[in-house]
C-alpha cells in the first residue's frame, strides 16, 4: 500500500500491480453504484407502470421487500380466527 502513490517497480511487483488494479475496480464499481442509485433508479421510479405499482403496494401497507411476516403490516389485522367450525 505504501508504494501505491509512487508506482510499482517495473516487472517486479505483481502484488503491487494487483493492488492497484483492485483499487481501480473498487472505485469503478462504487461510481457505477452511485450513478445507478443516484440517477437511473430515481428516473425508473417515475415511469407510469412502476409508479402505479409502487403506489398500490404503499396504499395497501405492503412492504414487498419484507423478509418476515411481522414486517408486513397488511398481515397485522389478521387476528380473528380464520376457521372456526363452531
Amino acid at each position: 500500500m505504501t508504494r501505491f502513490w509512487v508506482g510499482c517497480r517495473p516487472g517486479r511487483d505483481d502484488d503491487c500491480r494487483a493492488n492497484h488494479r483492485g483499487i481501480g475496480v473498487l472505485v469503478a464499481i462504487v461510481l457505477l453504484i452511485v450513478s445507478v442509485w443516484g440517477w437511473v433508479l430515481p428516473i425508473v421510479g417515475t415511469t407510469p407502470t412502476i409508479r402505479q405499482s409502487i403506489e398500490t403496494t404503499e396504499r395497501m401497507g405492503i412492504n414487498p421487500a419484507a423478509i418476515f411476516y411481522t414486517d408486513v403490516y397488511a398481515t397485522t389485522p389478521t387476528t380473528e380466527p380464520f376457521w372456526n367450525p363452531h
Binding site: 493492488n19 483492485g22 483499487i23 475496480v25 473498487l26 464499481i29 462504487v30 453504484i33 442509485w37 443516484g38 433508479l41 430515481p42 425508473v44 421510479g45 412502476i50 405499482s53 409502487i54 398500490t56 403496494t57 395497501m60 405492503i62 412492504n63 414487498p64 421487500a65 419484507a66 423478509i67 418476515f68 411476516y69 411481522t70 414486517d71 408486513v72 397488511a74 398481515t75 389478521t78 387476528t79 380473528e80 380466527p81 380464520f82 376457521w83 372456526n84 367450525p85
Partner: protein
C-alpha cells in the same frame, strides 16, 4: 465462517470454505462459552431487556431503534425518515447497542490476542456497520424495494466487492463475525414466531402450508441429492428450505442448522431473491389470465412465493382492473399472507428437525454420511448433542416465551408487540445485515462457482419450485376452492365480501 483463521489471511482463492455457521465452540474461546451460548445469552438477554423496556416505557420504545427507510430520489431521506426521531439517530442507537453487547462476545471468543484487541474490534465493527448502512440505503430505494431485493443481497454484494478487489483489511478481521450475528439474530427471530397465531389461522391454511411444505422440502432434497447428484447435501437442503418455506429467513435458519458453507447460503439467497422478483410479477399475471378465483389464487401465491413481503405484493396484484379490483386485491392479500404466516411458523420446526437430522445423519465437518457403525444409545445421544447447533434452543425458547406472554392477556400481547416492533425486529434486521456484510467480506467469488455445481443448483431450484407450484395449486383448489370455500367467504371481512 471461521473465527480466527480470518484474522491471519485474506480469503484463499481455492481454499475449502468453512460453514456459514459453526456449530461448535471457537477453538480459542477465552470465556469457555461457545458462540452458540453467547448467541443464546445475547438474544434472550436482549429480548428480556426489550420486554422490560416496553413494560416501563410502553409504546415510547417504538421508533427508538430503526433501520434506514425508504427513499425515491434523495438517499439522505432514507436516514431522515418521517417520524419524530430521525432515522439516523435510531439507526445509530441500534448499532451502539449491538456494538456494546457484541464486543465482549467478540473479544472472549477470539482466536488470537491481536484480533481481539478492543480498538481493532471497534474499528472493524464500525466499518462493517457503515457498509451495512449503505446496504440498507441501497435496499430502501423504492424501485429496488418494490421488486423485493432485500438488504441481505446488497450487504453480501458490498462485502464481496471489498474482499474481491482490495481484500478485507487485517484490522477489520476481529469484527468479521458473521456467525455470531446470524445466531444472535435467529434467537431474536424466534420471538417473532408466535405459536398462538397457528390457533387463529386454522385448518385450511394448515392443510396448504403444513402438508405441502414438508413434502416439497423432502422431495426437493432427495431430487437434488439422488437425481441431480449435487455433492453437497447442505447446499441442497438450504435451497430446498429457502424455496419451500419462506425464503431468506428459512435459508438462514436452515443453513445454521445443517452448517452449510457461507457461499452455499449466499447462493441460495441470491437464487431466491431473483426468482421471487420474477414470480411476484409473473404469478399473479398468469393466475389472472387463467381467471383463477382470487381466494384460490391467494392461497396458491401464499404457499408458493418465497418471501413474505413479495407474497403480499403479489396478492395485491390480483386485483387487476374493474370496479371491484380493490376488494379482489384485499381478499387475495388476506388469504395469501395468512397462508404464508402459517408457513412461516414452520421455520422453527424445520430448523429443529434439520439440525437433529444432520446431527444424526451427516458428519458435519465435510457433509459425508456419518459412520454406520452401531453405537450405544448414550453415545449416540451425546454425539447428537455435541453436533447439535445449540443456538436453535435459544430460538425455540424465545418463541415459547413470546407465545406464552401473548396468552397472558391483552397486556402481554401488547408488551410482546411493542418489544418486537420497537426493539428486537429492528436490531434483528441490523444483525442479519451485519452478518451478510461479514459473509461477503470472507468470500471469494471463485468459491461461489463450485456451489453452482455446473448449473445444477439453478435446475434444482426451478424443478423444486415447479413441483411446489403444482402441489400447492392442487391443495389450494381442493381446500380453498372446494372444502372450506363457504367458511372462508364468511371469514373474509364484510367490506371485502363478494
Amino acid at each position: 465462517m471461521e473465527n480466527g483463521t480470518a484474522d491471519s489471511s485474506p480469503p484463499e482463492k481455492n481454499a475449502p470454505s468453512p460453514p456459514a455457521v459453526e456449530a461448535s465452540a471457537a477453538p480459542g474461546s477465552h470465556s469457555g462459552w461457545s458462540e452458540d451460548v453467547w448467541a443464546i445469552v445475547l438474544g434472550l438477554g436482549l429480548l428480556a431487556i426489550a420486554l422490560l423496556a416496553a413494560g416501563v416505557w410502553g409504546d415510547h420504545v417504538i421508533d427508538r431503534f430503526a433501520t434506514p427507510g425508504k427513499w425515491s430520489s434523495d438517499p439522505w431521506s432514507a436516514l431522515v425518515g418521517k417520524g419524530a426521531i430521525p432515522l439516523w439517530k435510531s439507526s445509530l442507537a441500534s448499532l451502539v447497542v449491538i456494538s456494546l453487547l457484541a464486543t465482549p462476545a467478540m473479544m472472549l471468543t477470539r482466536r488470537d490476542s491481536r484480533s481481539g484487541a478492543p480498538l481493532r474490534i471497534a474499528a472493524g465493527f464500525w466499518t462493517i456497520a457503515l457498509l451495512a448502512t449503505a446496504a440498507f440505503v441501497m435496499a430502501g430505494q423504492e424501485v429496488v424495494k418494490q421488486y423485493g431485493f432485500e438488504y441481505v443481497l446488497w450487504a453480501l454484494l458490498l462485502g464481496l466487492l471489498i474482499s474481491n478487489t482490495v481484500g478485507t483489511p487485517h484490522w477489520m478481521r476481529g469484527a468479521v463475525r458473521g456467525e455470531l450475528f446470524i445466531k444472535w439474530g435467529l434467537v431474536l427471530l424466534g420471538a417473532e414466531v408466535l405459536i398462538g397465531k397457528l390457533l387463529l389461522l386454522g385448518m385450511p391454511g394448515i392443510l396448504v402450508s403444513w402438508l405441502v411444505t414438508p413434502i416439497v422440502l423432502v422431495v426437493t432434497f432427495l431430487f437434488g441429492c439422488h437425481v441431480l447428484g449435487i455433492r453437497s447435501p447442505a447446499l441442497v437442503m438450504v435451497v430446498a428450505a429457502d424455496m419451500s418455506v419462506c425464503g431468506v429467513s428459512a435459508a438462514i435458519a436452515t443453513a445454521a442448522a445443517c452448517r452449510a458453507k457461507r457461499e452455499e447460503l449466499s447462493l441460495a439467497i441470491a437464487l431466491s431473491l431473483c426468482f421471487t422478483a420474477v414470480m411476484m410479477v409473473a404469478m399473479p399475471m398468469a393466475l389472472r389470465f387463467a381467471r383463477v378465483d382470487e381466494i384460490v389464487a391467494g392461497a396458491w401465491i401464499g404457499g408458493t412465493i418465497d418471501s413474505t413481503g413479495a407474497v403480499a405484493a403479489a396478492g395485491a396484484l390480483m386485483g387487476g382492473d374493474g370496479p371491484d379490483a380493490q376488494a379482489r386485491a384485499d381478499r387475495a392479500v388476506k388469504i395469501a399472507t395468512t397462508v404464508k404466516m402459517i408457513q412461516n411458523i414452520l421455520i422453527g420446526a424445520i430448523a429443529f428437525a434439520v439440525s437433529v437430522y444432520w446431527a444424526t445423519r451427516y458428519d458435519t465437518d465435510n457433509d459425508t454420511r456419518a459412520s454406520s457403525t452401531p453405537v450405544s444409545a448414550t453415545a449416540l445421544g451425546s454425539e447428537v448433542w455435541r453436533r447439535f447447533p445449540k443456538f436453535v434452543l435459544g430460538f425455540v425458547a424465545a418463541s415459547l416465551l413470546a407465545s406464552l406472554l401473548v396468552t397472558v392477556g391483552s397486556r402481554g400481547e401488547t408488551l410482546v408487540q411493542w418489544s418486537i416492533d420497537g426493539i428486537t425486529k429492528n436490531l434483528r434486521g441490523w444483525l442479519f445485515c451485519l452478518a451478510f456484510v461479514c459473509i461477503g467480506l470472507e468470500t471469494n467469488f471463485r468459491t461461489l462457482l463450485p456451489a453452482l455445481s455446473g448449473g445444477k443448483t439453478v435446475v434444482l431450484y426451478v424443478c423444486g419450485q415447479a413441483f411446489n407450484i403444482v402441489l400447492t395449486g392442487l391443495m389450494a383448489y381442493l381446500v380453498f376452492g372446494w372444502l372450506f370455500y363457504d367458511a372462508i367467504l364468511g371469514w373474509l371481512p364484510t367490506g371485502a365480501g363478494r
